[in-house]
Amino acid sequence: MSAAMTQNAELALEVRGLRKAFGGLPATNDVSLSIAAGERRLIIGPNGAGKTTLFNLIAGDLRADQGSIKLFGEEVARLRTDQRAQRGLARTFQIITLFPRDTLAHNVVLAMLGLSPSRWDALRPLSRRRDLYEKARGVLARVGLESAAERPLAQVSYGEKRRVEIAMALAQNPRLLLLDEPLAGLSQEERQSVQALLAAIPRDITVIMIEHDMDTALSFAERITLLHYGKVIVEGTRAEVVAHPRTREVYLGA
């Protein structure tokens, strides 16, 4: 017990008894999760298992019916999405949610403004904020998109947009990063480059990832949580979860 208590201080995310139902249908059914600071956690489960709902509950896009969500020890279940972002939570979306008319650099600048007091500056022209655009190019360089920084987002490929999603999250220097299927719809080469990108995320950022591509996902995560019908079915190390009979039953279909 005391060991668990001391560990609590180091938890990036602690979810207890989380419930969310849509019209009587439970999408998240008594989910509890403990994720240590710096951990790489993979969340798997068949379609409709409630993975994205769980992310939306953690990020604040949905309000939980019941349960607690602690972000680095602080209860955030009643906070708005933007307030949780202010506390170091960043996410990417399964369906690309970017600003197509703006340049890649501008997309990243909007991400940086989210946590900067400059976002309330209604007088100075944003285009004169060379410091912000310089930093944005730096972040884009981290995902290998520096040369495309001035191109409108609508003109870059799907794979590049996925990387912009990640760049925007990284631009916020988050403490906890939620990645919702970062590899969805990518070609084999693109997968490898994004995979390398994810592996390069510094260890002071805790990462929780939903992913279907098992090869990539399994090499990335240390611990895996298997969701099914909104419930945590299996949780453990890579080897434990893969070997578990329930995993084979509900997910691997063996």
Binding site: A59, G60, D61, R80, T81, D82, A85, Q86, A90, R91, F93, T97, L98, F99, P100, R101, H106, V109, L110, A111, L113, G114, L115, S118, R119, W120, D121, A122, L123, R124, P125, L126, S127, R129, M168, Q172
Partner: protein, 311 residues
């Protein structure tokens, strides 16, 4: 629009009294007032993606306040003008709390309802508004002792205020806040996830739009020296929305072009046809059919196509 273009337009506008008679000078004043009014609405419609059908409320209330403060307390313009703008801005702060409980069509309906309430009040609250007779016997201010009775001095006064207003609105739209506002229009959910307080961004914009609308309301009442409930009517809200949409939402030039088109049509055509609003409807229909994103973006596209063909 860049700064040089803005200065060139301002210089051209300053030359109008040299070549035009009083009728056209007054028409130009009306256009400037409508342009500030339309640009204030464009902050909500164009940059915020929040279509308001009650924007006349802020223009009208500011005009009424200015007139009422003069008639009731004999207050000078130096005091009544800031009070009218302040009062109207506070009202926007209150209305924003109500209207921004929704977005999209809900927002439109609430702004419409609030506008209609004020319009009804202007008609019925006779002890304050003088009902259907309106408030008359108002005066124009005399800044630094300059008499603004004539068309020319009033035009230059209006031009000066308009330029300052347009410059401030331009700065607002080019600022970090302006970029964030456009972000909340395009991807509100993403903006929330990035840490932007979308509601607060919209609320600040709502109040800012109310403020500049109040400024146009002052110019409006100074121009007419009279205020009637018609200024608060739905047709006034619809007309200014028409200016914004016809000219091109989310651009700086669009609402100004829209103001020019609507005011000219209104003044020219109403001299010949009683049902000039029908023609206005026709013109609007044509714009929507052939240039759905407005005249300014539409002509820009035509120009690009033309330039490419002849390159």
């Amino acid at each position: 629009m860049n700064r040089t273009a803005l200065i060139a337009c301002a210089a051209l506008a300053a030359l109008i009294p040299l070549v035009a008679g009083d009728y056209y000078i007054n028409l130009s004043s009306q256009i400037l007032i409508a342009a500030v009014f339309a640009l204030s609405l464009n902050l909500l419609v164009g940059y915020g993606g929040l279509t308001s059908l009650g924007h006349a409320a802020y223009m009208g209330v500011s005009a009424y306040l200015s007139g009422w403060l003069f008639l009731k307390f004999g207050m000078g313009h130096l005091l009544s003008a800031p009070l009218a703008v302040l009062g109207t801005t506070l009202m926007a702060a209150l209305f924003g709390l109500i209207a921004l409980r929704a977005s999209g069509i809900g927002f439109l309906m609430i702004t419409l309802a609030l506008g209609q309430v004020l319009w009804g009040l202007a008609f019925r609250w006779v002890s304050v508004t003088n009902g259907d007779n309106g408030l008359s016997g108002l005066t124009r201010p005399m800044p630094f002792g300059i008499d603004l009775t004539g068309a020319i001095p009033f035009y230059y006064f209006t031009l000066l205020i308009s330029i300052v207003s347009i410059a401030c609105i331009a700065a607002f739209s080019y600022s970090a806040f302006g970029a964030v506002l456009r972000g909340t229009r395009d991807q509100p959910r993403r903006m929330l996830a990035l840490g932007h307080n979308v509601w607060m961004v919209r609320y600040v914009t709502f109040i800012t739009a109310g403020f500049w609308s109040a400024v146009s309301g002052l110019l409006y009442v100074y121009y007419h020296k009279f205020i009637h409930p018609a200024a608060l009517a739905l047709t006034n809200s619809a007309e200014v929305l028409l200016m914004v949409i016809a000219g091109g939402t989310g651009t700086l030039v669009g609402p100004v072009v829209g103001a020019i088109v609507v005011i000219l049509l209104k003044n020219y055509v109403s001299a010949f046809v009683e049902r000039w609003t029908m023609l206005l409807g026709f013109v609007f229909l044509l714009i929507v059919l052939f240039m759905p994103d407005g005249l300014v973006p539409g002509f820009k596209r035509l120009w690009v196509r033309f330039a490419r063909r002849h390159a």
